[in-house]
């Protein structure tokens, strides 16, 4: 480490303009190939190039590099990238084993849990997938809303007729992240699927203020009321949308809203 820093300081002192450059992806291979050429026994460099090959989709070269990297040091250090590569090649069981090896060495590695969860999901190991998703949520200091949606998908696959676990997960996510309309929209759709229309209405109503009672919110709400067999409420909302759109700046999305409005009106009254 000390040597590394000394080398860096020495080197930087010779330069004048390097730091103004920020290499894009086009130069990544050029750079790493040069590094490896100069330092062929470096395991981290070999792993790094494998990672780039995985991103690029060149799995053959990635595997070659990882195999070589494993011979240059402790093979466990290659396990995370190997797991990613195996996932990409649909070798999910092997991927899970690789991530497990890596997690034994680095038990708090949130991303290894996340990738392992997705690999386990891919082969239907749903309990393992959820265990890993939950571990990811525990270890990640900033879990992303999108990953909660993915985890809800696992629970739906595990209990296709019982949406309660997925709803519980989404509610937990909203407790942690706040009432994110994206998460509530997903939960609302689940309520609709299980024909809990009052639950769906309650959930969608809960984000009305958050979504500023927008035309889009009202159109979605009207659709729910139609599904719930409450066309009067739906029509009332559609009438509100009609007035609201007239007062708002026209955008392509709002022009599309007007078309959806017409579609829903026809669902309620095909003779219109």
């Amino acid at each position: 480490m000390l040597f590394f820093h000394k080398l860096a300081v020495f080197t930087i002192s010779l330069l004048t303009s390097v730091s103004s450059a920020h290499p894009g992806s086009a130069s990544q291979f050029e750079r790493i190939n040069h590094l490896i050429e100069q330092n062929p026994q470096s395991q981290p460099l070999m792993i790094k190039r494998a990672s780039l090959y995985i991103q690029k989709g060149d799995t053959k070269k990635a595997r070659q590099d990882l195999g070589h990297a494993a011979s240059l040091g402790d093979p466990v250090e290659t396990a995370f990238e190997m797991g990613k590569l195996q996932s990409r090649n649909d070798e999910f069981k092997q991927a899970i084993a690789s991530f497990e090896r890596y997690l034994k060495r680095y038990p708090g590695h949130a991303l290894a849990f996340l990738y392992s969860a997705k690999a386990a999901w891919a082969i239907g190991e749903l309990d393992l997938a959820m265990d890993n998703f939950n571990a990811y949520f525990r270890h990640a200091s900033n879990p992303h809303p999108g990953e909660y949606l993915a985890a809800a998908g696992v629970l739906l696959e595990k209990w296709p007729q019982d949406f309660a676990p997925a709803l519980q997960l989404l509610d937990g996510a909203m407790q942690r992240l706040g009432s994110v309309p994206q998460l509530q929209r997903y939960a609302t759709e689940l309520e609709l699927k299980r024909r809990n229309y009052s639950g769906a209405i309650e959930r969608w109503r809960s984000v009305e203020t958050a979504l500023s009672s927008s035309p889009q919110w009202k159109l979605d709400a009207a659709r729910i009321y139609i599904m719930a067999g409450e066309p009067t409420q739906a029509l009332e909302l559609l009438n509100q949308v009609k007035v609201q759109l007239q007062g708002l700046k026209p955008t392509p999305a709002r022009i599309e809203n007007a078309l959806k409005l017409r579609e829903l009106e026809l669902v309620i009254n095909p003779t219109l």
Binding site: I12, T16, P23, G24, A26, R31, N142, L149, L211, P250
Partner: protein, 548 residues
Amino acid sequence: MTEIGISKSGDNRNAGVKRTSEFNSYGRWFQLLQIFSCSLLMTSSVYAEDVISSCSGAETDVSRLFLQQVSAHSAMIKWRGDTPVVCFGTQPGKLDRSARSEFIDGHHQVTLAGLEADTHYYYSIGGATSSGPGRHFRTAPESGQLPADGNIHIWLLGDSGTATEAQGGHKTHAGEAVDVMNGYLKYNDQQAAGEPLDLILLLGDNAYLEGTDEQWQGAYFDIYADLIKTTATWPTIGNHEMGGGPLDICIFRRLPQCEKGPLISHFGGISRSANPDSYDSDGDGPDPGGLPYLKIFSLPSKAEQGGVASGTEQYYSFDYGNVHTVSLDSQLSNRDPVQRSAMRDWLIDDLSSNTLDWTLVIFHHPPYSKGQNHDSDIEQNEIDMRETFAPVFEDHGVDVVYSGHAHSYERSWYLNGHYGSSETFMAKAHAELDGQGNPSMGQGTDVYQQISSATAADDKAVYTVAGSAGKADQENPCSPGRSMGCSLPNWLSHPAHRSFPTGQTGYHSHGLSLKGSVVIDASRTSLTSRFISENGQVLDHFIITREL
């Protein structure tokens, strides 16, 4: 964000306050513990006990004093120092209300609630009844309204963080960010009648090279100290906010030492992770504290200031008067398909709910650029922002989009539907045209109209790259086989950007390699964007108008 109660001296009516008439022994002990803890700990919450001081102390020196989330009825103050007490009021010599901070992630943090809209407030740190110099702010107007002066004045800084950029112990861009700031101040004084700032927007790369806490101090908090204690800062994540990785310097410059092997150094700005917890400042693996950006700034993930809750501080939105601003995460969330999709869905929800006059979007990686080292035809982050998000902007009425990344200035025509690479741009298909059939400049008699006369919809946006608030790339032709750290023949020639007359230093066919920053003025009927040089000159501007 934590909001705590406030008290009014001599008045117990405010809710949420446990008021004590005097410090008891426990209170004194606890205060000592707080001071001790503050000096030792830089992470997590340290105390939350309610101990209210009346405003009878003395002004205290603090470091890193800045504002966050200044809305119509609340304002957050953050600072570093020993004292947890803020006094505030509407008269500088009579601060009659007090609040006590929490200590979170290395900062004192307090949200003053129950404020009046569009009103000047003065404050002190430490309990003084009079405000210290420059310790004041003005709350936002009510949502949808304009401030009393009829104008919202916004300053944008891209890639300004060069004060901490150094090589071999020498500052490579010393004073350049200050020059740009002084250029803005000169412009503001001489050409804008000292218009008060309402918002400061950061376009990323505001603390070189790795975005460490120390670099943020040197590149941002020390330089803009006088401005950020009166005006709220709203940032976005750039590549240099996200640490770095190893780089062989021999790729850029063939030094004699390169004959012996690679000269590997850790360089900021080249992380490819989508995970803020993988932030690595020095090349020895993830830092325990995570991404400093997320510790320093307190951003509205729960729609605390309008907009729609995003659930993450990595991207967010807020309202200020008649301007809706969205900050997207082109560095992290944009890298992962699941996260990118979630960010896009949130953006659609957010923009669908927005009814304010003007909509402004910021993020770091420009969808259209031929900057030095940063080509939007090649860099995946830029391609993803263009292909995934530009259609959403245009479908949902976004007016202006600002990015940094490239250390130059490029400003697009009034665009719609150009989502491909630069060679697919066709002015007739993708840009607003003037009376002569040329792309309109958005100036003089050809100002842009928010609602297009051709489509009767708000379906166009201007995209600006303004990454030269700390340095500007210079002409440095690439030698054969070299493409990084030098200027290629197509430098600053993206056809979707407005053309410039060449011949002057720093002027290129479609951009400027000159230092500067951007100022936006938004009234009820027009939005004007200006690029201000380090000398205080307006080098470009465009105007979008809207009908009432």
